[in-house]
């Protein structure tokens, strides 16, 4: 309905937020082995970006910056064994009332969950977002050779667990 009462002011960050959220949630959820946690982490990482938007916006790859934050948060989340999602749910409803169950083949998710956190991160960044190894290395802040090693080892493990060949 046409309405003159409101003007929506579109900020650049809002645009960034909406464009990044889903991918970020999947990456973080993969690392955290928890879909809801992934969404919460994605929001938190984007909140951090919001606080420093003037600096983040001028980066060459603000999307890479926010992924590093999200992955660090996701890895930290597992380490601390604190269910932040539970706390966030106490605070209020989440952005979307989505199902807790992750989509796709459960066997693949189960196999991914058995990987090390950084291997999960590499897998998500590579197979979800098709990022090259050099870019993944930048995001995770490890060397290219270590990234390649993580990716290779992760694929070997997954192929073994899933009974697949890995080309």
């Amino acid at each position: 309905m046409a309405n003159d009462f409101e003007r929506i002011i579109v900020s650049e960050f809002e645009i960034f937020y909406r464009s990044q959220f889903a991918s970020l949630a999947v990456v973080a959820g993969t690392v955290a082995s928890d879909r809801s946690a992934g969404e919460a982490i994605a929001r938190e990482a984007l909140a951090k970006a919001n606080l420093q938007w003037a600096k983040v916006a001028v980066l060459d790859k603000p999307d890479a910056w926010v992924r590093r934050i999200a992955i660090n948060l996701a890895i930290g989340q597992k380490r601390r064994s604190v269910n932040k999602v539970k706390a966030l749910f106490k605070v209020g409803p989440t952005a979307v009332a989505i199902a807790e169950t992750r989509r796709g083949d459960p066997a693949v998710w189960a196999a991914i969950d058995k990987l090390a956190p950084k291997q999960r991160a590499v897998i998500a960044l590579h197979y979800l977002e098709d990022r090259p190894v050099t870019e993944i290395a930048q995001i995770i802040n490890i060397s290219v050779s270590a990234t390649t090693s993580h990716l290779h080892n992760a694929c070997i493990k997954l192929a073994d667990m899933l009974g697949e060949s890995h080309g």
Binding site: M1, A2, D4, F5, E6, R7, I8, I9, V10, S11, E12, E14, I15, F16, Y17, R18, S19, A22, S23, V26, T30, R35, R43, E44, A45, A47, K48, N50, W53, A57, V58, I69, N72, I75, G76, K78, R79, L88, V91, G92, P93, A95, V96, I98, A99, R103, G104, D105, V108, A124, H126, Y127, L128, C155, L158, A159, L162, E164, S165, G167
Partner: protein, 827 residues
């Protein structure tokens, strides 16, 4: 690998498949509406997400083209998205979309006024849901609206009736687009009066039907008239660009929209008081549904007499050519174009607007245009209205919004809601005049822009002159009624300047107001004059007659809340102070004067909160009579008794505390004024201060800990939780050594910081009971990267078994501001 193809990498295929499915599912749940199965709030979120997702896609284009630094118009973003969107994802079911730009759409077939239009229940011919057919008429300015015999541009003819504001009309399903003098608008067909044909009314004059609370107080018991409220008190540098609206009261997300600074919200009378004491109003959303905002950021429109020049024209005349003024960024603006328009350099603009900080230029933001000696002006455009306008108006920066007034109503719809944001360049100063006001309408704050002149008519020169934006706090108190017929009443008005200097004067409600004169008869206009005490209810021997002093009957010592018997604000011409009074019987039964409730005084003087829980103090100061602090938390340890006053000067928020007679303990907790304070500031600007430290509940046996710890911090819309940790430490802990290398905490939990949009908030933390022992607690937030560690505000405290170990033998609470714990390695 990236170059692998699906055919030769079965594992990669499976991985890509699950990631794609997961991504699509999350995204789908955000952008695909499902009105058949989802509840209303969810629908609303979906709508918003859908719109913003459109904007998001366009945003890629925008971000990749940041060098242009142009503000983006939502419709443009949506259009870009629409072009890029696959056909099967485009919204459907809106056959008659009204566009606000470009050519107006072709009119739908004009229905006959005597022939009922077939329609699907709940959805009209434009595809709009209309909520059980009924809508309430609000009209363009809350004044009702004309119902016409047919949709058309309003020229004063064809009026079937004037439908008053608040009147409920039945929609019968017809909808069409028709030109009006302000562009194409949707028109809804409504049921006519009994026995008459159906009528047509502009859809934007209608609101979804209100609940049973109409009219009267809202659900919090606060009278909230059905008039526009403005978003205010949000800084122009707010990264959100305004007030964040949510689907429910007191929650962080989902966010439905952002209402720009100066934007308009219309409450439905729905109200919820959240646990942190803030009121949330339900307001109408643009899509006909509802959302919620924190009411502290809403300001009801007030009436004011304004003499000025307005309506979208550049500043006029040489008199103000060299004066700085504000400019509202509009979509399409670039810093360079603005600089060229006003004949200044980009560098000058950047210096005048440091908050821009190289960041994006946001449509709707106010930027300051410095004066330039050789400034050139564009020829005036648009319509000028010069002269007094008695309307519901709020002046915010350089914007003036007119909502409703007898004088402007006749201009409708030329001057209608869609045109209510004006550039405003006061040529003759601002006059706030009593003739416009009724007493009730004088209350509350109003922002004034431009030049304010306070005149004493007996003096040739203004007593005081200031430039906006200013905040005038109109108490509405009539100091003196007219002494004789024809004389003027004196009304108290307080002006708080940009620098928080406060001028309070008594204004004469003379007709001179409309002639740019405000008569000031107060004699205490000096900004730096110290606060003078106001006479209290009853003088006590030994105290001056101006001393506040009251005695109260003994309270219920079993209840901490009862210890405080009265807390109120009082004002005189110079200051506002908060007076807190404790009862005489506060601690008699238990002989523990050490337990008194924490008194939390918020920065807003009308927001005084008392927690029901007591706490102990850890330190005392030597000056028993008067203590002044530069900022932060002041802790006072006093001796027995129960009468004292606390006065706070409004200016600079400087606390002044005077203990009048054998005082008890009191905590004065103000926001820091800068410098060395008790606030913990993290590496990303988050701030926390422990306002109600951890304490033991001594009213119970054993070891329960008082479970309400008060933490204040800077809440932001996206932050859902703070974090606290508690460590058990040795009684003789070396704090420095411990904080340099803390072991694993025994408690690590989150606490809610929701409900505060870009503002200081007070958060309450529930603590579990603790065994006797010594502990360190830190309240704060983990930074985004673990290598920065955990920071916050902390406390060293001890829990004892009060019944066996006694009490008072150990400093119970040691505050630890600015705790910065070392980084933790990844595990």
């Amino acid at each position: 690998m990236a170059d692998q193809t699906p055919s030769d990498d079965p594992l990669g295929n499976r991985l890509r498949a699950i990631f794609a499915a997961e991504h699509a599912d999350i995204e789908r749940h955000q952008v695909v509406p499902d009105p058949a199965t989802n509840p209303a709030p969810f629908q609303k979120w979906i709508r918003f997400a859908m719109a913003t997702a459109l904007i998001a896609i366009a945003g890629f284009v925008f971000i990749s083209n940041r060098s242009n630094e142009r503000a983006l118009e939502p419709e443009v973003a949506a259009q870009i998205l629409n072009d890029k969107m696959p056909d099967d994802q485009k919204p459907t079911g809106t056959p008659a979309v009204i566009t606000r730009s470009g050519q107006p759409p072709a009119l739908l077939a004009q229905p006959s006024v005597t022939e009922r239009v077939p329609y699907q229940t709940g959805v009209n011919l434009c595809g709009d849901n209309y909520n059980n057919q009924a809508r309430v008429v609000l009209g363009p300015n809350g004044k009702g609206a004309p119902a016409l015999t047919a949709p058309k541009a309003f020229d004063g003819s064809g009026i079937a009736r004037e439908v008053p504001s608040g009147f409920v009309v039945d929609l019968v399903g017809g909808c069409t687009a028709a030109d009006t003098s302000i562009g194409p608008r949707e028109w809804y067909e409504i049921q006519g009066v009994a026995g008459k044909p159906t009528e047509w009314i502009r859809s934007d004059y209608l609101l979804t039907q209100l609940g049973p609370n109409l009219p009267g107080a809202n659900e919090c018991g606060v009278p909230v008239p059905l008039v526009a409220h403005f978003v205010w008190n949000i800084s122009a540098s707010d990264p959100d660009g305004g007030l964040v609206a949510h689907v429910a009261a007191g929650v962080d997300e989902p966010i439905t929209r952002i209402i720009g600074i100066g934007g308009v919200a219309i409450p439905t009378r729905g109200c919820v008081l959240t646990t942190n004491g803030s009121a949330w109003y339900e307001i109408f959303a643009p899509d006909g549904s509802f959302d919620w905002v924190n009411a502290r950021y809403l300001q009801i429109t007030v009436q004011a007499c304004i003499v000025g020049e307005q309506f979208g024209s550049p500043p006029q005349g040489a008199a103000i050519a060299n004066e700085p003024f504000s400019y509202i960024v509009v979509p399409g603006d670039a810093l360079r174009s603005i600089a060229e328009r006003y004949n200044v350099t980009i560098d000058v603009l950047n210096r005048a607007n440091p908050e821009l900080n190289g960041g994006p230029l946001i449509a709707g933001a106010l930027i300051r245009i410095p004066g330039a000696a050789t400034m050139t002006r564009e020829p005036p455009t648009g319509k000028h209205l010069i002269g007094p306008i008695n309307g519901r108006a709020v002046v915010d920066g350089s914007r003036v919004a007119f909502i409703s007034s007898p004088d402007t109503a006749r201009l409708d719809p030329i001057v209608s809601i869609s045109d209510m944001f004006y550039q405003w360049y006061p040529a003759n100063g601002v006059v706030i005049g009593a003739p416009c006001f009724q007493e009730e309408q004088l209350r509350g704050p109003v922002c004034l822009a431009g030049e304010i002149r306070v005149l004493n008519l007996q003096q040739p020169e203004p007593i005081w002159t200031g430039t906006g934006p200013l905040t005038a706090w109109r108490t509405g108190r009539i100091i003196a009624p007219p002494q004789a017929p024809g004389e003027n009443e004196l009304i108290e008005i307080s002006i708080l300047t940009e620098q928080h200097a406060q001028l309070t004067g008594v204004f004469d409600s003379s007709d001179d107001f409309t002639n740019e004169h405000c008569l000031l008869t107060g004699s205490d206009l000096l900004a730096d004059q110290p606060c003078t005490r106001v006479a209290g209810a009853g003088p006590t021997a030994g105290l001056g007659t101006n001393e506040i002093n009251r005695s109260w009957a003994a309270g219920n010592s079993a209840s901490g809340a009862d210890h405080v018997h009265d807390i109120r604000t009082e004002s005189n011409n110079d200051c506002t102070r908060i007076v807190i009074e404790f009862g005489k019987g506060a601690n008699q039964a238990e002989s523990r004067a050490s337990v008194l409730p924490a008194v939390v005084v918020d920065q807003q003087l009308d927001s005084v909160r008392i927690t029901a829980d007591g706490w102990q103090l850890h330190s005392a100061f030597d000056d028993p009579d008067r203590i002044e602090y530069e900022g932060g938390i002041g802790l006072f340890t006093l001796t027995f008794s129960y009468e004292f006053a606390v006065e706070l000067m409004h200016q600079e928020m400087e606390p002044h505390v005077r203990f009048l007679n054998n005082p008890a303990r009191v905590v004065i907790d103000l926001f820091p004024t800068g410098g060395a304070d008790q606030t913990a500031t993290g590496p990303f600007g988050e701030q926390f201060v422990l306002r109600g430290p951890i304490q033991q509940d001594l009213s119970a046996r054993g070891i329960p800990v008082n479970n309400k710890v008060v933490v204040a911090g800077f809440g932001r819309p996206f932050e859902a939780a703070g974090l606290y940790r508690i460590w058990a430490v040795a009684d003789d802990v070396d704090l420095n050594a411990f904080l340099a290398n803390p072991h694993a905490p025994i408690i690590e939990e989150f606490f809610a910081t929701s409900g505060w949009a870009e503002a200081w908030g007070t958060f309450f933390v529930d603590l579990p009971d603790l065994e006797p022992g010594t502990y360190v607690a830190v309240f704060g937030e983990l930074p985004p990267a673990d290598e920065l560690g955990f920071y916050g505000t902390g406390q060293l405290f001890r829990i004892v078994d009060a019944l066996t170990e006694g009490y008072g033998s150990w400093p119970k609470a040691v505050l630890l501001p600015n705790v910065q714990l070392p980084p933790e390695p990844f595990g």
